[in-house]
Amino acid sequence: MKLNSGFYMVRCADKATSDKVKSEAISTMIFLDGDGKEYHRTVVGTFDSVEAAFKKANELYAKKPIAWATGEASDVLSQTRGDKKKLVALAFLDEKKDSETLVASLEDRWVAKQQERLVYTKIAFDRSSEICKKYNVTSVPTLILVNPAEEDLKKSIVDQLVAKKELVSVHNFLVKAFDKFDKASKN
């Protein structure tokens, strides 16, 4: 497999592109993630250095497994209450394909950077359980983002994603949710 095959390739030789990427030197390779944010930049000059640049770029922008919080959801919410920057993600899952797909999207390299601001809690879906009733969860998979600092249940729910979604939808859901959360935090 070609090392560059997983990248959209752009050749910067004009002022407009140069300004956008703030290029400072010829023979620079600049890597940007799916949000257009730069995450790696290096000057190359040999075949080996080009190869190393692609390898490093792949290492830095990689899938990241979710570190699930342990304990009851209520305990996780209590423990996270003091962190004003984080949300608790209640993931109601089962053993089926749609749940696996959602988790895979959450671990995807594009979405994984959101993990820094999320405390993921896995909850086995059981519609008769207290927690499903509490959050009105009736289908699986469901992802609910909860502001742990908010005591009012209804107000604490920042947003929710129901059913399997495409990667771009999961990504956009999280971006919009944090945008909403951050705006509300400023007020």
Binding site: Y8, M9, T17, S27
Partner: protein
């Protein structure tokens, strides 16, 4: 591997026939950004000429 070699040639300042005939699909920056915004695939910008500075 051919494509990487082409990049290396460009990196060394070459504009050889190999570079011109490469099968790398070069995109405009804005096109790459738009595509990345729907797939999450990363972008690699290769500065072959730098109008803002050296080169």
């Amino acid at each position: 591997m051919k494509n990487i070699a082409v990049l290396a040639l460009l990196a060394l300042g070459g504009t050889t026939a190999a570079a011109r005939d490469s099968n790398i699909r070069w995109m405009k920056f804005d096109e790459a950004l738009a595509k990345a915004g729907t797939t999450g695939q990363p972008i690699c910008v290769f500065v072959s000429v730098n109008p803002n500075g050296s080169g």
